[in-house]
């Protein structure tokens, strides 16, 4: 299945792009996507412990399942206001 990965703020700058189409085996979970992204973007390494992850705009843990066309967002610590 194919998902869209969205990078924001520091994650966007370190990945060098705002988004990515990612192909994953059916049944993949968020943790699997995370591992695939980490392999492809080693520059994200120091950031991972600080990132929250959202699927389709809802915060999730690594156990959460993914579905085709899911939007997985990498969200650094927030600083709005």
């Amino acid at each position: 299945m194919r998902i869209t990965v969205l990078f924001f703020a520091q994650a966007r700058e370190r990945a060098g792009r705002p988004s990515l189409a990612l192909e994953l085996p059916d049944g993949s979970r968020v943790a699997d996507a995370r591992a695939a992204i980490a392999r492809r973007y080693p520059a994200l390494e120091a950031l991972w412990p600080h990132l929250a992850l959202a699927v389709d705009g809802v915060l999730v843990s690594g156990d959460a399942t993914l579905h085709t066309d899911a939007e997985l967002a990498l969200l650094p610590p927030v600083s709005g206001g």
Binding site: L6, F8, A9, Q10, R12, H50, A52, A54, G57, L59, A73, L75, P76, P77, V78, S79, G80, G81
Partner: protein
């Protein structure tokens, strides 16, 4: 309805729209960009958001504020993109019958906004360079 805008925030319009004949108190908070942060001179700010998620989060705050406090309405506008010094990056407006709850609610909404909305602020420094402001993990 919460808004994310890429132009100056019209505080007057927000105050005007918040005024209701059944409310005696309007508390308005404006977050403006500051020329210093942790000892460094700042020349400008830029904001980025995960827009659909941020909008939903802001709308959630607008909805929950009158549930938690004795206030009639809460309205939030956040600016994105470049924000010149001394211009507002965010406005929170609360209308209520009485001023105590108006102040409490406005403050709570601002705290929630800083805690739970996927928006990021970058600072540009006078000495050169730029940095994302150290934020809080979303949870």
């Amino acid at each position: 309805m919460a808004e994310l805008v890429r132009r100056p925030i019209d505080a007057a319009a927000l105050a005007r729209e918040a005024a209701r004949p059944d409310c005696g108190a309007i508390a308005l908070f404006l977050g403006t960009s500051r020329d210093h942060h942790q000892g460094r001179r700042v020349t400008g700010l830029a904001y980025e958001a995960y827009e659909p998620m941020a909008l939903r989060a802001l709308e959630g705050i607008e909805r929950r504020t009158p549930e938690r406090f004795e206030v009639a309405t809460c309205r939030i506008v956040h600016r994105l993109g470049d924000v010149p010094l001394a211009e507002a990056s965010v406005a929170v407006v609360v209308a209520a019958a009485h001023r105590g709850p108006a102040f409490d609610a406005c403050r709570w909404a601002m705290d929630e906004l800083k805690r739970a909305v996927p928006i990021w602020k970058k600072e540009f420094f006078a000495e050169g360079g730029e940095a994302w402001v150290e934020g809080r993990p979303l949870a």
